[in-house]
């Protein structure tokens, strides 16, 4: 199964289960959770079922393309189910069958993993899912986001696409994954890994990045004051990425770290609060649809 066939299979599976198929966000995010399709939509009472691929950018994980398992940008497949269905775990196992993993022939295990994002003021309980000893998915029942207690609880399923693909294709190096039509992952992204590793670790302009962190944070606060919640959240995402670059660059000391994270979290929490108010003012529109957010009935 090529990378693109894997994505297609997941899209087909989840759209068959009533999910909306959405698109990645248009700004750098460390995980699909940051996409407003997850972070904002899990807030409040409205039902929401969505699935999308998300390129996840983690500057610190770059290895100049020399490590077979670690890269600064990889792909997640994100599924968000709100409220979390009673049989969410069996459905997830079925999704593995849909991508060619027969659960009766493999050791599939759920290992405790209490997820927490200090930057987003978010936390959940769940597991890492292991396939024959390898982590292929993060499975989380969201409890809190943006400091808001969540009701209903959403289930978040995050597939690590490269990991799964390496397993399915039996290759030991991420660069060797066949993306599609005989083209390898490395052919597409190796140069990007080299350049971005060099950029994040050695070249990114530190004063410039510190400056835009401040400016982005101010912009987020200003937009909040103006009642423009979605643009404000855009700048939360940007701050988070700028922070990650500065962190990779080694420019943030241990003691400063906490305060930078707290600054991003503060805005994220205010965004969450205001978002719920906004949806309430709109009358929680998705509550009124008979099938909630569903594109098709399952």
């Amino acid at each position: 199964m090529t990378f693109q066939e894997l994505v297609t299979a997941l899209e087909q599976f989840w759209s068959g289960r009533g999910c909306l198929l959405l698109t990645p966000y248009n700004s750098e995010v460390g995980a699909g959770t940051m996409n407003p399709s997850t972070f904002l939509r899990v807030l409040g009472p409205e039902p929401w079922m969505a699935a999308y691929i998300e390129p996840s950018k983690r500057p610190k994980d770059g290895r100049y393309g020399e490590n077979p398992n670690r890269v600064q940008q990889f792909n997640q497949y994100q599924v968000i189910l709100k409220p979390s269905p009673e049989n969410v775990l069996p459905i997830y196992i079925e999704s593995l069958e849909a991508i060619g993993i027969d659960p009766s022939r493999h050791d599939i295990r759920l290992l405790e993993d209490d997820w927490e994002s200090p930057t987003l003021g978010a936390a959940g309980l769940g597991w890492e899912v292991w396939l024959d000893g390898m982590e292929i998915t993060q499975f989380t029942y969201f409890q809190v986001a943006g400091g808001q207690e969540l009701d209903p609880v959403s289930a978040e399923i995050t597939y690590g696409l490269e990991r799964i693909c390496m397993y399915l294709q039996g290759v030991d190096d991420i660069m060797e994954i066949e993306w599609g039509g005989g083209v390898k992952w490395g052919e597409l992204f190796l140069q990007a890994e080299r350049e971005f590793s060099s950029f994040h670790f050695e070249r990114a302009g530190v004063p410039f990045y510190f400056e835009i962190f401040e400016r982005y944070q101010q912009e987020a606060a200003r937009m909040l004051d103006d009642g423009l919640i979605l643009p404000a959240y855009d700048y939360v995402i940007k701050c988070s990425h700028v922070f990650n670059v500065l962190d990779a660059r080694g420019s943030i000391s241990v003691s400063e770290r906490t305060s930078y994270i707290a600054r991003i979290r503060d805005v994220a929490c205010r965004v969450a609060e205001r978002y719920i108010e906004q949806r309430k003012r709109l009358g929680f529109p998705l509550l009124k649809r008979p099938g909630g957010s569903r594109g098709r009935s399952s």
């Binding site: 490590n67 077979p68 398992n69 409220p83 979390s84 009673e86 049989n87 775990l89 069996p90 196992i93 659960p103 009766s104 022939r105 493999h106 050791d107 599939i108 295990r109 759920l110 290992l111 405790e112 209490d114 959940g124 309980l125 597991w127 396939l131 024959d132 000893g133 390898m134 029942y141 409890q143 009701d151 209903p152 609880v153 397993y167 030991d172 000391s253 241990v254 003691s255």
Partner: protein
Amino acid sequence: MKQDFVLEVGCENLPSGYISGALDQLRMLFADGCKAERIQYGGLRVFGTPNRLVVFIEGLSSRQRADEERVTGPPVKVALTENGQFTRAAAGFAKAQGVPVDALRTIETGRGAYIAVVRRIEGRRTSAVLKEKIPGWLRLIRFPKTMRWDGSDFRFARPVRWILAMLGERRLTFKIGALSAGNVTRLSPYKKEYVTVESTGHYFAVLRKKGVILDQEKRRDTVRRLAGEAARALGGSLIEDEDLVGSVSNLLERPTVLTGSFDRSFLSLPREVIVTALKSHQRYFSVAGRGGRLKPCFIAFADGARRNKREIIKGYERVLQARLADAEFYYREDTSKPLSVLAEKLDGIVWLEGLGSVARKTGRMELLACRFKSEWGIGDPGLENIIARAARLAKADLASEMVKDGKEFTLLQGYIGREYARVSGESDEVAEAIFEHYLPRFAGDGIPEGEAGILLALADKLDTITGCFILGLGPTGSQDPYALRRHALGLLRILIARKAGIPLPGAIRYSIDLFGKEGIELPGIGRELEKMIIDFFRQRLTSMLRGEGFDYDLVAAVLTAPWEKPVTAREMAAELQRMRNDGELTGFVLAMKRVTNIIPRDMKKPVDVDAGRKAMHAFSGQTPEALGFSPALFSEESESRLFEEASRTLGDLLRIEENAHGGRYLEIIARIVPAINRYFDEVLVNCDDREVRDNRHAFLLGLHTAFSLFLDFSCITGE
């Protein structure tokens, strides 16, 4: 009629560390609950896997035990007339209770005879009681973290997806949150299929047939046995690890053992790095070959028999390969430069917010260790150089790729430091001291052997304790986030095991000063902080000596006196215990208490080190005027004799060598006993002549004050 009862709480995978605690609570909730509800049973057992918590009660009676309810009314003398007729008061009580007057009984109470209504309460059916009570009991189970998963308010560690509750062949129906209990179980939370269960016996048969080992102890034993067999089949022996056995057996229901291998080239990594890479994420067991060297193999467990073991093992091997490759990368990065280069980065690592960097800490450690060295009086002059070097490098591994950022290898701090020190060409003494300064890391861990290791271990622990107390982070109740109790116990264990006669109060003062000199603001006034830390050590030492089996009063006698050296304190407690066991203590303590008891209460003061020292010098230097008495006023020979004896004894105690055994102090003190006894046999202390009497009181008070420096005899009971 008696029936068996089974309850199964079916969960999506519970964290492995939560299972035992949940089972203990379930056992208690059901035992206490049945007792409170007057439900009798033969036996109660609990079982658990990640996917089910099970309560099994054998021979449960079908009804509650009948009971009596008594409502006490007026006393008989008010309720009955002289000829035994009920009075108006009795009639009123009967009416209020809704019974005819002739249903009233007379009962005897502790306060006399009373009129009462005695009602029999019939037992309800057990099934009805359980249906009503179980939801409440389940809600009482506590976990370190809980969650919600559906619209209900039922919280648990992970989602509960089904509940099976059966009494014999009947299912008990009740609701908890959004769930309804029934007679169905699931073999796996990953599957939608249910199995309908016909009876309690059938329930256990169903799970057994599918290979589920419900009993957590049995599962542990199975994992241990299978791992051992697999290691032998690989021609080696299992590196035993009960932690790992425990966590593996609580991650699965049907242990199936698999073995795999890794590239031999990784064996060049430090051994513990390999063992940790296998253990901490992947939870694989390591195998030792001949001579204890690791074999390039591992033992892993899957849940349930699987058809294609080969492919699963290949998966395991591939993941392990990646983890070992990471470790190798860290190792190569770290060892490409000397350890001292890593140490330079400690400047930028905060130790505790408000107390500066780790580099500062190592600086204080060096100074403290050198002070300990000179007080202990050991080591040749070269030792200070070793201490200085080892202190500088002691925490350097915190800046290494291998240890930093809290990954699995962070657990290996100290060990990694030692390995890197060796690679960097540091001397063996320095390398060992780097490793040993963290010891003991847990109860039962080894303690440092080398001199530099011992001194730095003491210094690191005391510095941590002092620092945390400065920040107000001392332990309170069950809260001890910085493990200061463990640090204190470690420090005391080292001092005692290595017979290091180092006085603590001075060291604590010095340690506080080191923080003060760095400009760190000290809380409290005067010596308050110092006293808090000494009290903290006294509590730790008390519980440690009690743990060794010394009697409470003897430990108190030693530690209420102004003790300074933990070693000496322990030796004194041990000697007192020996004396008590051999019947020697009574005479000794009685004599000393005679002195104490005769001194008028208003003259006695709390034990005071300066006053005690002054008294010792006054006796040994024969300058009694310093204590306000004069031998010229002595009238009996035994008075002068006791004065002479006291001068000699206290003089001996002053001259005793620095690191004398605690027993030696007691031996010297005991020499004075015959003179004391003779004194009290012959002298009437409280005589009529006021001047003589005051003189005697001052003399005895001096003695008391001096000996109180060593022991608080008033703590000792029964003698």
